[in-house]
């Protein structure tokens, strides 16, 4: 029953997707604006029905589906029952399809208000992408396969036929323990997917503009807001993954340059470039050709990333299911790249902007420079990620690229990025006079230099941290000074408080000041990353007997007692560790090991602090003594705060493209 309902939903979605594709190509041929309502209803409705069917199956512990039998158990806590819908391959592809439905519906709502062929063709492109995803759900990644041969727990064989006679296991295998260990991992995938899937929208508009040979600001205008929103969600998604890794996995870090992590980071870098250069195109009518290329490569990277994580082509500590989905994604990736590049090269001469960047000493000059740097960074990370595949193809060696490669290349690139960011974020458009630049940059630069100098005087020896701190203050001070000057001028002119004046200025140009908020986040995260990695202190295998006190860094750690707790789905074993710092008691913390039927996962205790985090990871507990890995990560909170501020700035900025208002405000601010 539930299998039939799910499959019908998928079929409806596929049908709707094909319909949209056909209507889109009709619009392309004839220039008409078809009514796409029915087909969009089928696509979106079908995706909703399928996801609901899967949720019902999970919440009612219906083990007749092999998906529930193999990824779910009746003892799974409620929250994780819901998140099980995307914790395994088939369900996560369904979530992807649902997101496509949501973004498609939103695109259609804009189209309905003012139907034109650009909108219709763009929806057709989204339809094409949806055909691929629904097609995969129906064939190689179907979460509604009926279990035809049950094991004691779980399912051995299954059938795509929804009418097959089900053999229902008594109990399911349960969701992977790692994926029910912490709430973060339940919400990390949806955020990541909103970001990933949302980047289909700029791609769709870019392809539509190229296919119709309608270059100009319109496709960029429609893409910009969606790119900002998707990019913000992608930021949070990547961040939540790191936070989960830090809070749950207990290896004492949040980012390892693993191929799977890179897969989520690569489209983030190109999307970062895209939101900036789209703004330049909208403002100055330049960089259009570049924007087409960025929109295409960003979307291409989301598909390539999924191929990398799903194919087993690279060695990764994150081992996802390997299935026929891998080759399917590779095929789709090649199709996208070949198809869009062909279209792009045919139209390239028509899409090149008439104007050129006049002077590098301008806001667009800085954005152009950083676009190049971001592209270099993308190519570098991409090379490191896929290089092992080429080595594997051309020789019989299997290799992996160590972290050092990424650390070595990323450090100089990001430092220059930060510098150019600080130099150009307050610069006027078109061309800046040296006097204007000096006026806006002198104080921020002095503040930055003073910070670096002070940190050296205070005994800081980590070169990365010293530079990052100086650049961060430089980046922070620029827009702060600008806002202060504008606000105090407005305040005296209009007789209002400074705060009120500042709030008015910000509200009138959300696009710009949202961006500045993101830059504040960048400054904060830069310091967080530099300090937490450059100044960290680590001791592995610290042995503490019961009742004994051990000194580490400025802390005193006492192993007070052990504890055990039993839950239906897991057993917990852990230690009560009393933490004192400089003689003052901070509290009792409980690093623990959660034991699931076949696997044990250490869950660290993090003593978060303003100055630094103390990170306790229990490695072993044995009656009278424990073995701890202990880390100190200075300013770790800045990594999380900075990341969320970046995303918040993006969302705030996305509201602010109400054309006329911001145009005027921009004129005023750049006058």
């Amino acid at each position: 029953m539930i299998a039939l309902l799910g499959d019908l939903g998928v079929l409806a979605g596929l049908f709707g997707a094909i319909g949209l594709l056909l209507q889109g190509s009709q619009a392309l041929r004839t220039g008409t604006t078809p009514d796409m309502k029915r087909m969009m209803q089928l696509l979106f409705g079908g995706a909703i029905v399928s996801m609901l069917a899967l949720q019902i199956a999970l919440l009612t512990d219906n083990f007749s589906l092999s998906y529930t039998a193999n990824n779910h158990a009746s003892t799974t806590p409620f929250l994780f029952k819901i998140s099980t819908a995307w914790s395994a391959l088939e369900g996560s592809i369904l979530l992807w399809a649902l997101m496509l439905g949501i973004f498609g519906y939103l695109m259609w709502r804009n189209y309905r208000k003012a139907p034109d062929s650009l909108g219709a063709v763009a929806i057709g492109v989204l339809g094409l992408v949806a055909v691929f995803f629904f097609g995969m759900i129906l064939t190689v990644a179907n979460p509604f396969e009926v279990c035809t041969a049950a094991a004691q727990t779980g399912c051995l064989e299954s059938s795509l036929n929804p009418f097959a006679t089900a053999e229902v296991p008594l109990q399911g295998r349960g969701v992977n323990p790692l994926l029910q260990n912490h709430i973060l991992v339940a919400i990390h995938p949806p955020f990541l997917y909103v970001g990933y899937v949302g980047l289909t929208v700029p791609f769709a508009y870019a392809m539509a503009a190229l296919a119709l040979n309608q270059p100009g600001p319109e496709w960029a205008r429609r893409s910009h807001k969606w790119t900002l929103v998707s990019w913000s969600f992608l930021t949070v998604g990547v961040l939540l993954g790191g936070l989960w890794s830090y809070e749950v996995l207990g290896w004492g870090g949040y980012w390892a340059w693993d191929p799977v992590e890179n897969a989520s980071f690569l489209p983030w870098i190109t999307a970062t470039a895209l939101i900036h250069s789209l703004a330049v195109q909208l403002r100055r009518g330049i960089m259009q050709s570049w924007n087409f290329a960025l929109a295409i490569s960003t979307f291409g990277l989301t598909i390539l990333g999924t191929f990398l994580t799903r194919s087993g082509a690279v060695i990764s500590v994150h081992s996802f299911t390997q299935s026929p989905v891998g080759p399917a994604f590779l095929g789709f990736f090649l199709f996208i790249v070949v198809g869009s590049m062909a279209l792009y090269s045919v139209r390239a001469s028509d899409s090149a902007s008439e104007n050129k960047v006049g002077s590098l000493l301008s806001r667009e000059g800085g954005i152009l420079t950083n676009n190049v740097l971001l592209t270099v960074w993308t190519v570098t990370v991409l090379l490191g990620t896929i290089y092992p595949i080429f080595v594997g193809v051309f020789s019989d060696r299997t290799i992996s690229i160590g972290r050092a490669f990424y650390d070595k290349t990323s450090l100089p690139i990001t430092l220059v990025l930060l510098l150019v960011l600080g130099l150009s974020e307050t610069a006027p458009w078109k061309a800046a006079t040296k006097a204007t630049l000096a006026d806006r940059l002198y104080l921020p630069a002095m503040a930055g230099l003073t910070t670096s100098a002070l940190s050296v005087l205070l005994g800081l020896r980590s070169r990365g941290t010293i530079l990052a701190a100086g650049l961060a203050v430089f980046i922070l001070a620029g827009p702060t000074l600008r806002l202060y000057r504008l606000a105090s001028a407005a305040a005296s002119r209009r007789d209002m408080s400074l705060f009120q004046a500042a709030a008015n200025i910000v509200r009138r140009d959300r696009a710009y000041w949202g961006g500045m908020l993101s830059h504040v986040g960048v400054a904060v995260i830069a310091v967080g990353i530099a300090a937490s990695s450059g100044l960290s202190v680590t001791t592995v295998g610290l042995n503490i007997d019961m009742g004994q006190t051990v000194n580490f860094n400025s802390y005193e750690l006492t192993y007070v007692s052990g504890f055990t707790a039993s839950n239906p789905q897991r057993n917990e074993i852990g230690a009560n560790v009393l933490v004192k710092r400089d003689g003052r008691t901070i509290g009792t913390y409980q690093p623990q090991i959660n034991t699931y039927p076949t696997i044990a996962i250490p869950t660290p205790a993090v003593v978060a602090g303003f100055g630094q985090d103390l990170y306790l990871s229990l490695k072993n507990i044995d009656g009278d003594h424990i073995l701890l890995d202990v880390h100190v990560f200075p300013l770790q909170w800045m990594v999380w705060l900075g990341g969320f501020v970046i995303a918040a700035g993006g969302l705030y900025s996305a509201q602010g493209r109400k054309a006329r208002d911001s145009e005027e405000a921009l004129k005023r601010t750049s006058a």
């Binding site: 990824n71 158990a73 914790s87 395994a88 391959l89 094991a151 004691q152 727990t153 779980g154 295998r173 349960g174 969701v175 992977n176 323990p177 790692l178 994926l179 996995l249 290896w251 060695i315 500590v317 994150h318 081992s319 996802f320 299911t321 270099v376 570098t380 090379l383 490191g384 290089y387 080595v391 060696r397 299997t398 290799i399 992996s400 690229i401 160590g402 050092a404 490669f405 070595k408 290349t409 592995v540 295998g541 090991i593 034991t595 039927p597 076949t598 696997i599 044990a600 250490p602 490695k619 072993n620 073995l627 890995d629």
Partner: protein, 129 residues
């Protein structure tokens, strides 16, 4: 016309950075081997660093002061004794893989880093424990 000069400059800078990147890439290469491959190539490997991936054989973990030893195996049942001062995933069983970076020292593999592999697929024991 400035254009040809700009293009030449770009090509030179581009190829130079690609060359440097390539050098850095091949320098950062870490060979990945599973136990059976590592044993086969033991002579050629000498004391060079590589990444060993496999499964910890349950019950093989022993401690000797700070030094920990355990056996890493694979699906061909090839076995390598690993010595490390890193803390091992004591409670991890044969369902969990490890990545170890290090070198052969005699018959032992000396691991300087130890990473756990976390899987998405998960199988509960088919027989109740």
């Amino acid at each position: 016309m400035k254009r040809p000069l700009t293009i030449i400059l770009l090509v030179v800078v581009g190829s130079l950075s690609l060359f440097l990147l390539g050098r850095l890439l091949s320098n950062s290469e870490v060979l990945y081997l599973e136990p059976n491959e590592a044993l086969e190539q033991k002579v050629e490997l000498g004391d060079s660093q590589f990444l060993l991936g496999g499964l910890i054989r349950p019950g093989s973990i022993t401690t000797d002061g700070d030094v920990l030893r355990f056996v890493v195996t694979d699906f061909t049942n090839a076995e390598i004794l690993v010595r490390t001062t890193e803390t091992p995933p004591e409670l991890f069983s044969d369902k969990t893989g490890v990545f170890l970076e290090g070198t052969f020292e005699g018959d032992e593999f000396h691991a300087t880093t130890l990473l756990l592999r976390h899987e998405e697929t998960y199988e509960a024991p088919t027989e109740a424990p």
